[in-house]
């Protein structure tokens, strides 16, 4: 018989969970210490180097507003690159995302191969893509656009194929049963279900492309990164800070517009 008075309640968490948590915590903290030592970075350093940071702020301010006139052309080039890259990437991604969705592509071998290729593409950093394309096509916006296209396809196909895999297949069956052909099935059963999501993802990738094109300029693939790199090398900090402020403003505005558009869509 169990006497209630001698019953000692156990902790909320079982012993095993506590053990696992403790070991996990030790591993996390230990790895943190190792990486802190290896990278010579301790969070305390930020306070040690605080005077440096303040000195820097006085270098960066006030921003050179006269320089803004030189920023616009490159900024527009960045936006144009992102627009073209996103458009091409969306058009290319649609057939590929159908091939990577396992409810449309029933051939398992093809499905696995496509998934493998896409996972591979997504692991390539955009900067290496840019380096290779600049090597192939020379310096200029075209190389940047090519890099952005490949970079966007990797993300878009993954997102789009997940949407296609999640659609309701009953309308497809209904249209097939009433004698619709493949084209009619796609346009009346699949497209209305996926279109809002597709547009939403395209806007999201457009945002990503604007940010990514900053990096591309560093290897000569066009866009505002080129300007940033140049002024940074000349230690022209007031100009750098005006570029950063403009980029920040543009990113915020584009994010806001696309968030509003996406809210209306989904």
């Amino acid at each position: 018989m169990n006497k209630p008075s001698t019953y000692v309640p156990k902790g909320i968490y079982p012993f095993k969970t506590k053990m696992i948590m403790t070991v996990a915590l030790i591993v996390v903290v230990g790895f943190y210490l190792v990486s802190s030592i290896k990278t010579e970075s301790f969070i305390i350093d930020i306070f040690v180097k605080l005077p440096n940071v303040f000195g820097l702020i006085s270098d960066f301010f006030p921003p050179d507003w006269g320089y803004v006139a030189q920023i616009w052309p490159k900024l527009f080039e960045t936006i144009h690159m992102a627009i073209i890259a996103t458009t091409v990437a969306v058009i290319v991604s649609i057939p590929f995302s159908l091939l990577t969705a396992n409810n449309v592509t029933t051939n398992n071998v093809l499905y696995q191969v496509m998934r493998f290729v896409l996972n591979l593409i997504r692991t390539i950093p955009d900067i290496i893509l840019a380096v290779v394309f600049v090597g192939l096509f020379g310096i200029g916006a075209f190389s940047g656009i090519m890099a952005l296209i490949i970079f966007s396809i990797g993300i878009l196909v993954k997102l789009m194929s997940e949407v296609i895999e999640a659609i309701d297949m009953n309308p497809t069956e209904a249209i097939r049963a009433s004698g619709g052909n493949s084209l009619q099935t796609i346009s009346f059963a699949i497209v209305p279900q996926v279109l809002p999501q597709f547009i939403s993802f395209s806007l999201y990738v457009f945002e990503l492309n604007i940010r990514a094109s900053l990096v591309l300029g560093y290897v000569g693939a066009g866009g505002i990164g080129q300007l940033l790199n140049k002024e940074m090398n000349f230690l022209n900090y007031p100009a750098v800070s005006s570029i950063i402020i403009i980029v920040f403003a543009v990113v915020v505005i584009i994010d806001m517009i696309s968030a509003k558009l996406r809210e209306g869509l989904v």
Binding site: S41, G140, A141
Partner: protein
Amino acid sequence: MTEQHPLPQPPKNKWKMIKRIFILIIILLIYIWTISSISIRWDKIFSSRTLENFDRIIPRFFQPAVAETESIVEKMIETIFIAYTGSLAAAIIAVPLAFLCASNMVKNKVLNNIGMWILGAVRAFPEIVLAIIFVAAVGPNPFAGVLAIAIGSTGMLGKLYSEVIESIDMHVIEALEASGANKLQILFYGIMPQILPEFLSYAIYRFEIDVRASSVLGIVGAGGIGTLITFAYMNRNWEEVGMILLVIIITVTVIDQISGFIRRRLV
């Protein structure tokens, strides 16, 4: 009596039509503006030089410089350390900000909005810009990369965390309050068990992203494998670029698999 009812007219939504045409015109204008003002020298791109480049670069690219493996792997490990230190710092900094943003924890609307604004502003800075600022502030070393990753990740983690906190079951907290628990006890027994698995899952996910992000930061001098990319590119050393790419692909794939496994176990 059977009267012939006319079929009802489909509702004509004039404003919707006008709105759609308006949007279409704007999109068309944007595309015309883009295509007319982008400067691409097509004659240069489709020239014999490009073909020569293809012949020269592609074969070299697919013969990775195996001899350089040691130095590349060393830099890759540094990249992982940068990503780890940065995302761990972000995972900790994001917690108080997330509680500030969550409307069920902090009942003050003004404070919620301030938190949202901070996180939004941080998210709007591309990581490379943060890296530039920190390289100028603390010098060209991995520490600048760690700071850039830490600040850059805080924005996203804070937003995701605050969404997790807002979705918790408040009944548990009410029950604890009713039985006389103090604030700290509510935090440990009411809130923590609900949010911890998802917090960890998001932190690990962000670490995955940070490994990719920190491999780029080196081009502005913030440490990691990006430094090697810049050197290899400047020397037109395509074998080395190929090898770096190979190492990055393998590392990122392995880390993705491990973190995917841990995250499936967590949630």
